[in-house]
Amino acid sequence: MSITVEEKKVLLSVNQLKQYFPIKGGIFGRTVNHVKAVDDISFDIYQGETLSIVGESGCGKSTTGRAILRLDEPTSGTIQFQEKDLLALSKKQMRKVRKDLQVIFQDPFASLNPRQTVEQILSEALAIQNVVPKENRKHRIEELLGHVGLRPESMERYPHEFSGGQRQRIGIARALAVEPKLIICDEAVSALDVSIQAQVLNLLKSLQRQFNLTFLFISHDLGVVRHISDRVMVMYLGKVVEIADKKSIFEQPQHPYTRALLSAIPVPNPVQKRERIILTGDVPSPIDPPTGCRFHTRCPFAIDICKSQAPELKISAQNHQVACHIVS
């Protein structure tokens, strides 16, 4: 679902977010270094849109999602949501906010309690946030199951009786149960077969329209991202390298990493021809990231300044920002 420029209202704003994980060592087990998983990123999520974060393993996209939810406590930064800084809230206050901030996880097998029936799983969600009085809960659960395309009888069954795609639908129902404003999808379709993936993506899109949801969609699969996003943010080694409208990013990618990423995807399309940029080497370690622009060690276009100075995110075209010395 796309939104017009006039309607753009910021729902969540991330500012200078840092997530450093300490590494202990030495005789006394002191902190000797950090894994700089997310290193000073800022971005906004607009009401009603789907913003995707893409990148490969170690880029920090999942960590960002978890930091917003405070599943791991961020090292520093602010997250503005509903006129509050999430990182300044107490645990109790945060509990209340969680009603509006839900998540769907990647692994449909691990994210549901195998000892609870579907009804218990969904009731629990409703009970914690007290969205619906006890008498109405069963009815609400039936409604929810209907929204995600599951029969009401599913209520009485256990997770292991369902397929991967069905379990993911239960996860979606659980997220929807508390009527959230923002849902973070952390690789929500990555573990599903292609044909099931398509079903779930269609479902997410229709639910977004129906309930006016906002999605933060974290994924490594650019095909999926193309289908579901309004805007796309590309991350590399803890930094944002490019953020733009979906069309802009896919048709005119500017950052060398984005271009390499897009060109690396094998596409079953006889019509599309691309020049392939194959990156050399492996992703460097986030414990000691390269100086200057983090991507310079693998960038086919790196120049001197790239080694010493980290580039800032600058506007390069309409609704398009890039962090690259060569582009700006």
Partner: protein, 341 residues
């Protein structure tokens, strides 16, 4: 029974079943295909299609119990692998037919150096001494593009990244210059940019060494870029078997068409993805007749009653579908297929 032609591998009516408490699962249900010298064959399918079990069956690596190859033939250079002794199979594995697996993180032994693991297979099949085998192992690491191979050879798997471990696996598999390489989802667990590197590497080595490759994957994009011919599997059977080009330009089987349509396109926007309604049948409870019929928009009565065979519909394409047979138009559509959970 010897068969002399340019096919280095010929699989005929392969059947691999799993016997468990829940019943008998026909994981590979009369599968036939062939592989020419130097060719790349892709076997595509989703989970439960039987593609991995097929590849394990080729090298007779099926865990037994509960699995068992119950029928068919696997002709390798004219001789049936299913009639060979254990000893003969062992001299073929890693030597004439090699295999690499999906998870490079766990497919290497953590307590031995990577050099030792490669040298081991060289010593085993090529009767070289320790020193020579080690040197050859280092050469192989160089061949697969690992920088500072002498140093890396002494390292243990946990000291290498996922991409590098997969390169080590490839080095180990190709060390004895096998004629066939079976690659079971070799890039699924890797990042997209590393995936590109690995596929490129396999292609280059294939050209250099003349190896035929069977590439098993669920990623249609990978198939398109890397394979000459493709076999699409569904519920233990091959439903379509043709060239890669033909598969993407002119898919015939309803499942193939559905699969291609449900892929999100990188080059254009789609409002909604076409999906295949329903789910894969349980291998313990296969429908009578064509196993895809319950989900097929074109199904007619004959589809529900009789299993279609894999048949040539032209010189390069074989399909297992009643719709592509002569008697189709005479049949009536039984009922509409509706997407249901």
């Amino acid at each position: 029974m010897k068969q002399l032609n340019e096919n280095i591998l010929e699989v005929k009516d392969l059947e691999t079943y799993f016997f468990t408490e829940e019943g008998t699962s026909k994981a590979v249900n009369k599968v036939s295909f062939s592989l020419k010298k130097g060719e790349t064959l892709g076997i595509v399918g989703e989970s439960g299609s039987g593609k991995s079990i097929t590849s394990l069956s080729l090298l007779r690596l099926i865990p037994s119990p509960p699995g068992k190859i119950v029928g068919g033939n696997i002709f390798f250079k004219g001789e049936d692998l299913l009639s060979k002794t254990d000893k003969q199979m062992r001299s073929i594995r890693g030597n004439e037919i090699s295999m690499i697996f999906q998870e490079p993180m766990t497919s290497l032994n953590p307590v031995y150096s990577v050099g030792e693991q490669i040298a081991e297979v060289i010593r085993l099949h090529q009767n070289l001494g320790k020193k020579e085998a080690w040197q050859k192992a280092v050469d192989m690491l160089k061949l697969v593009g690992i920088p500072s191979p002498e140093k890396r050879a002494k390292q243990e798997p946990h000291e290498l990244s996922g991409g590098m471990r997969q390169r080590v696996m490839i080095a180990m598999a190709l060390a004895c210059h096998p004629e066939v390489l079976i690659a079971d989802e070799p890039t699924t667990a890797l990042d997209v940019t590393i995936q590109a590197q690995i596929l490129e590497l396999i292609k280059n080595l294939q050209n250099e060494l003349g190896t035929a490759v069977i590439l098993i994957t669920h990623d249609l994009g990978v198939v398109y870029e890397s394979c000459d011919r493709v076999a699409v599997m569904y519920a233990g059977k091959i439903v379509e078997y043709t060239t890669a080009k033909e598969l993407f330009e002119n898919p015939k089987h309803p499942y193939t068409i559905g699969l291609l349509n449900s892929l999100p396109r990188l080059d254009m926007d789609q409002e909604e993805l076409t999906t295949i309604p329903g789910t894969v049948p349980s291998p313990y409870n296969m429908p009578k007749g064509c196993s895809f019929a319950p989900r097929c928009a074109f199904a007619k009565k004959i589809c529900e009653e009789m299993v279609p065979d894999l048949q040539h519909i032209d010189q390069m394409t074989q399909v297992s579908c009643w719709k592509h047979t002569v008697q189709w138009d005479r049949e009536f559509v039984v009922h509409e297929k509706v997407g249901v959970e």
